[in-house]
C-alpha cells in the first residue's frame, strides 16, 4: 500500500467523515468525526472489552468509546466464540444504549393491569413496595408462591435472591419453549445435554444435516462462522425444511419436508443407514445399547413408507442418507435449538440423537465434542432454605423427563392454584407474552397474581402488565456475572460497563442485592460491590481480576474434547451406553424407539403457521433498537408464489392472518415466493408489538405469538409444541 501524504490524508478526512451533524443520526456523537479522521488507536478512542447480551451467546466485544460516548462495537479477537467478529445484532448493540424508547425510571402501576399507565417512583419506593409484597406473599402462602422467569446470564443475581428467599420455582422459556426437547432427547440417548453454546463441531464436519434449523438466519455467531468455514472446505450440506432457507441454498440436497413429518424423515434416513449397513458398527458395538431391538423397530420405516407422509421422494432420502454415511463420523445432524413444534419433539430430537449415534458422531471430530471449562469456584454463600413443597411446575412428575423447570407449568399452577398457589411473578429479561404460547392464558394467570414485577431494559408487552417495572441498565452499562463458558476452548469472560446509563437505570446485581437486603437476606450478599464478588471468585480460582478486566477474556488450555483425544467414552444413561433402545422410556409407557404419528392436517383453506428467526433480531427484544430496526423494521408473511397468485396476492400487499380460534393478526406484508411449500406460511418471530412504550416497533408486522393460541404439550418433558396453529389469509381493503 502507498504511503500516505499529509494532503491526501486531509482530503480523505473531509471526504469520508463530514463535519457537524444536522441530520437525523442514530445517535449523537460529536467526538467521533475527529476520532475517525485520526483513525482507530487514537488516544481519544477508548477501547473496553466486555461481552454481548443481544442474545444469549455471550460473544466477546471490544467497545469503542469516543469522547466518552459509545461509537461502535467490534468482536474481541481473543474470544473463541466470536473470533473477533460479532453478528449483526452484536454489532448493532450500539442501538440498545441509544434506544430512545428504553425504560428510564422505576414505574408503579397507576390503573388496572395492562393499561400501561404509570407513576414514576424512586428505586427506594419501588424496591420497598416489592419487598413488602413479597414478605406478605411469603407469610400468607410461603416463599414458593413467588416464581421467577428469567432469561440469560443477567438473571443470575435475581435467581440467587429468589433462592435465598426460598422459592424453588425459577424457570426460563428456553426449556419448555425452546431447546428442552432437544436436551431431553439427547439425554435419553447419550446421557448428556447438547448444552449452550451447542457442542457441535461444525467447523470440522464434512457433512452437515440441518432439519428445521435455519442456520444463517438463526444467527448464533460461532455456529454460523463455522458453518461458512465448513462450506468453504467443501462440506456436504443436507437441509430438510418446508422453506427454502438460506442454508438450503447452500445445500447439496434440499428436502422440502412437509411440516410435522420430520420424525418420519429421520426414521426413513435411519432405515436406509441400518438396512444398507452404512452405520458405524464398531462404534455401536463398543458404545451402543439395544441396537438390535432398535433396528427391528425401524425396519418398516422405509423411504417408500416416508414418501407419502413427508412428500420427500424416496430416492432423495436414500441418496442423502448415503452421503451422511459416506462422511461419518464427521457427519453432524444438527440438533437445532428452537425445537418445540408438534408435541412429539423430545422423541424427534431423540431420533436426531440416534441418527448421530448410528453415524458415530458423538464424541468424534466433526460431530459432537466434549466441552471443557475453567472450573471457577462459585461464591461461598450460605445454603439456600429447603422447600418442603417442592417445585410447582411438574406435579407428580407428570412429565417424567423434564429436568428443568417448565414455565408453562408455573403458569398452569398460577391459574389453577394447584398443587399450590402462585401469587407473585418476577420476570427478568423475557417477554413472556411473546415467549409463551397462548397470550390470553398468560394474561389470565397474571390476573391471579398479587405481584408482578418486570425487570427489563425496554417497555415490552409483559412490562405493560406489571405492577412494578424496574428499568435495568443495558448490558453496555453494567457488570454481570462472570461467564465461565463450557466450550471447545475453555475461557472466562467479563461483562463490564463501557458507558454510563443515561438515566435512572440500575444493573441487575444491584437490584437483586437491594431487594435481598430489604427482604432481610443480607447474609446472602456478603459483598458490597460486584467487583468485590469478582475478585473473590477469581482469586479462589487463581486468576487475576485486573487481567480479566483489561482483556475481557481469560483463556484456559485446550483440553481433550474427542474420544480419540482421551475423553472417556462414558454415558450418563441407565445402561451407561448410548441407548438405541430406551428402557426408561418404556418404563414410563413411552416408545423406547421413536415412532411417527402424523399430526393433524390444516382444514381446507388454512395454512400451517410456521415461525423462525431473522439474523438481525433476537426474540421480541430488539425492536426498539434503531440500528437493528433499520435492517428489518417489519416482518412479512411468506406465501408460496402459486398460492399467492391463486389468492390474488402479490408481494407487498397487506393482509391479516386469522387463526382457527378467530384471532386476527396485525396487518402484515405478503412475500409471495417460491421459497416455501404450498401448505404453510412463515413469518419471523418477534414483530407485531402492541406495547405503547415501544413506539418504533408498535404495529409493525404481525406477531406469530398472538396467533399461537393452541399448543400440544410434549408428554415426555412438558415442552409446548407451537407449530400446530392454522391460519387463513385475509386480504385487507
Amino acid at each position: 500500500m502507498n504511503s500516505l501524504t499529509r494532503r491526501k490524508f486531509l482530503k480523505i478526512g473531509a471526504t469520508s467523515v463530514g463535519v457537524a451533524a444536522a441530520g437525523r443520526y442514530l445517535y449523537d456523537l460529536p467526538g467521533v468525526a475527529q476520532a475517525i479522521e485520526r483513525g482507530a488507536g487514537d488516544e481519544d478512542v477508548q477501547t473496553i472489552p466486555t461481552y454481548c447480551d443481544i442474545c444469549f451467546w455471550k460473544c466477546g466485544v471490544i467497545a469503542h468509546v469516543a469522547g466518552g460516548k459509545l461509537w461502535k462495537l467490534e468482536g474481541n479477537p481473543a474470544d473463541p466464540l466470536s473470533n473477533g467478529r460479532l453478528c449483526p445484532r452484536g454489532t448493532g448493540g450500539v442501538g440498545a444504549h441509544y434506544d430512545p424508547d428504553r425504560l428510564r425510571a422505576p414505574l408503579l402501576r397507576k390503573s388496572v393491569r395492562g393499561q400501561e399507565e404509570w407513576i414514576e417512583v424512586t428505586w427506594g419506593e419501588a424496591l420497598d413496595f416489592i419487598a413488602g409484597k413479597m414478605q406478605s406473599i411469603k407469610s400468607q402462602y410461603g416463599p414458593e408462591a413467588m416464581a421467577l422467569f428469567s432469561h440469560g446470564i443477567g438473571g443470575n443475581f435475581l435467581k440467587h435472591t429468589l433462592k435465598a428467599y426460598g422459592s424453588p420455582n425459577i424457570a426460563a422459556p428456553s426449556f419448555a419453549q425452546c431447546r428442552g426437547p432437544r436436551d431431553v432427547g439427547f439425554r435419553l440417548t447419550f446421557g448428556e445435554d447438547v448444552s449452550s453454546p451447542e457442542r457441535t463441531d461444525i467447523r470440522n464436519a464434512k457433512c452437515i444435516v440441518l432439519i428445521g434449523s435455519h442456520l444463517g438466519e438463526n444467527m448464533h455467531n460461532t455456529q454460523v462462522q463455522e458453518f461458512a468455514e465448513a462450506i468453504e472446505q467443501g462440506a456436504t450440506v443436507i437441509v430438510a425444511d418446508p422453506r427454502y432457507s438460506v442454508a438450503a441454498s447452500k445445500a447439496k440436497y434440499y428436502l422440502p419436508v412437509k411440516p410435522g413429518t420430520d420424525l418420519a424423515l429421520l426414521l426413513a434416513w435411519m432405515n436406509v443407514i441400518v438396512t444398507e449397513q452404512l452405520y458405524d458398527a464398531e462404534y455401536i458395538a463398543a458404545h451402543g445399547f439395544g441396537f438390535e431391538q432398535f433396528a427391528a423397530e425401524i425396519l418398516h420405516n422405509t423411504p417408500e413408507w416416508a414418501y407419502p407422509l413427508t412428500g420427500v421422494e424416496p430416492a432423495l432420502i436414500r441418496e442423502s442418507a448415503r452421503d451422511m454415511a459416506r462422511f461419518r463420523p464427521a457427519t453432524l445432524i444438527h440438533p437445532g435449538r428452537h425445537v418445540n413444534w408438534y408435541g412429539d419433539d423430545a422423541q424427534r430430537s431423540r431420533a436426531i440423537a440416534l441418527l448421530n449415534a448410528l453415524l458415530g458422531s458423538w464424541g468424534r471430530k466433526g460431530g459432537f465434542y466434549y466441552p471443557a471449562n475453567m472450573d471457577l469456584p462459585g461464591y461461598p454463600y450460605p445454603p439456600y432454605p429447603k422447600s418442603d413443597k417442592g417445585k410447582v411446575d411438574n406435579p407428580d412428575h407428570k412429565y417424567p423427563f423434564a429436568h428443568e423447570t417448565i414455565t408453562t407449568g408455573i403458569r398452569e399452577a398460577t391459574l389453577t392454584g394447584t398443587p399450590y398457589p402462585i401469587k407473585g411473578w418476577m420476570v427478568y429479561a423475557t417477554n413472556l407474552l411473546q415467549a409463551l404460547p397462548n397470550e390470553a392464558e398468560t394474561i389470565r394467570a397474571i390476573q391471579k397474581l398479587d405481584l408482578l414485577v418486570v425487570v427489563d431494559v425496554i417497555p415490552s408487552e409483559i412490562a405493560g402488565w406489571a405492577d412494578v417495572v424496574l428499568p435495568e441498565s443495558v448490558y453496555l452499562e453494567r457488570f454481570d456475572d462472570l461467564n465461565v463458558e463450557w466450550f471447545r476452548d475453555p475461557f472466562i469472560s467479563i461483562r463490564q460497563p463501557v458507558v454510563k446509563s443515561p438515566d435512572d437505570q440500575q444493573p441487575n446485581w444491584w437490584i437483586a442485592r437491594e431487594l435481598a437486603l430489604r427482604l432481610g437476606l443480607a447474609d446472602y450478599y456478603p459483598w458490597q460491590d460486584i467487583e468485590e464478588y469478582f475478585r473473590f471468585r477469581l482469586a479462589a480460582g487463581g486468576y487475576n481480576y485486573e487481567e480479566l478486566k483489561e482483556q475481557g477474556i481469560l483463556r484456559g488450555d485446550r483440553q481433550p474434547i474427542y474420544f480419540d483425544e482421551g475423553v472417556p467414552a462414558e454415558f450418563g444413561t441407565p445402561s451407561g451406553k448410548i441407548e438405541f433402545y430406551s428402557l426408561q422410556l418404556a418404563e414410563h409407557g413411552f416408545d423406547p424407539v421413536p415412532r411417527f404419528t402424523p399430526p393433524p392436517e390444516p382444514p381446507p383453506g388454512y395454512f400451517r403457521l410456521l415461525f423462525g428467526r431473522a439474523p438481525v433480531h433476537s426474540f421480541s427484544r430488539t425492536h426498539t433498537n434503531r440500528v437493528l430496526m433499520d435492517m428489518m423494521n417489519e416482518n412479512e408473511v411468506w406465501v408460496n408464489a402459486d398460492v399467492a397468485a391463486r389468492l390474488g396476492l402479490k408481494s407487498g400487499d397487506r393482509v391479516k392472518l386469522k387463526n382457527e380460534d378467530g384471532v386476527i393478526s396485525n396487518s402484515i406484508k405478503v412475500k409471495a415466493t417460491e421459497r416455501i411449500r404450498t401448505d404453510c406460511v412463515y413469518l419471523v418471530h418477534g414483530f407485531g408489538h402492541t406495547a405503547k412504550g415501544m413506539r418504533h416497533a408498535r404495529g409493525r408486522g404481525a406477531s406469530d405469538s398472538q396467533l399461537i393460541t393452541r399448543y400440544v404439550v410434549d408428554p415426555l418433558m412438558g415442552g409446548t409444541g407451537m407449530n400446530v396453529n392454522f391460519v387463513t389469509i385475509e386480504s385487507e381493503g
Partner: protein, 323 residues
Amino acid sequence: MPELTSTRMNPLLDPALHIWGWEIPVYLFLGGLVAGMMLISGYLIFSGRYRERTQCACYQVPTISLLLLTLGMLALFLDLEHKGFTWRLYTTFELTSPMSWGAWILLLVYPAIAVLLLLRAPDAWGAKWHGWLRPVLVWSSTLRENPSAVRAIGVLNMLLGGMLGMYTGVLLSAVGARPLWNSAILWLLFLVSGASSAAALVHMIAQDRDERELLAKADNGFLVLELFVIALYLIGLVSSTSAHQQAASLLLSGTYAPVFWVFVVMAGILLPLIVQILAVQHKVKHTAIPPLLVLFGGLVLRFVIVYAGQTSHWIPVTAAALR
C-alpha cells in the same frame, strides 16, 4: 423472472429512483424555451429585421427571456440539496459534466441576452436614462451604429441559444444508467421542442403581423421536425437493448403512455400544428390557443421524460419485493 429482493431502503431511490421532482422539468422547459427565444431574437437581429420594424419582437423577447431564465434558474436552485455550496459550480470547469457545461453556458447566456436588451435601450428608455447609467446608453447607441457588431450579437445569441437548448437534452442523455434518457437524439428533441415552444410564445406576443405569420410558419416547421425526432427517438430505443426497449415501453404502452400520447403528441403537437397550418393559410383566425397548446405540450414533454426516465432501470427491481 428471478425473484429479486433488496434490503436497501434509501429515500429518493427505493423502491424506485425519484431524485428529481417538478423543479428539473420546469427548469428544462424554461431553459429550452429561452434557448428557442435566443435563436429567434438572435436571428431577427442578425437578419437586420429589427431595423425595418418598429415593433420587432426582438425588442420584447430578451426581457421575457431574462425573466423566464431567472425563473428556471430559481427552480434549478430549489432542487439543489446542498445550496450553501452552489458557488462550487464556478470554482471549476468539469469537462465531462454536462451540468458543469450548463452552469458555464448559463453564465454566458445572461450577458448575451443583456446585450440584446441593451440594443433597444436608446429607443425604449432613452429620455429617461440619466446619471451613471448614461454611459451604458452611449455605449449602446454606438453599438447600434456598427452593423457588424450587431450581427455578431445576433450570431452570439443564436449560438448560445443553440448550446443552451442542446445542453438541456445532453444533461439527461449523458445518464447511461437510465435507459430512457440514454439516447443520442435527446438533445435534438429538446432543442426542437424548445424552438417550437419559443416560436409559439413569440408568435403569441408578437405585435408585428408579418413576424407573427413568419413565426407561426416557423413553429409549424419545428413541430413537424419534433414529430420526426420523437419517432426517431422511440425507434432508437426500441431497436436497442432490452433495457432500452423496456424504457421505451414506458412511453409506448406503460404508465406514461396516456400522458405522452394525449398531451405531448396529440394536444401539444398535432392539434396546434393542424390549426396553425389552417391559420397561415388564412382559413381560420390566429388565436392564442395553438401556441398555448404548444407551450403546454413542451412542458409536459419535459415532465414525462424526466419522470419516466427515473423509473427506467437496468435491473428489473420489483418494487414490491423491497422490504
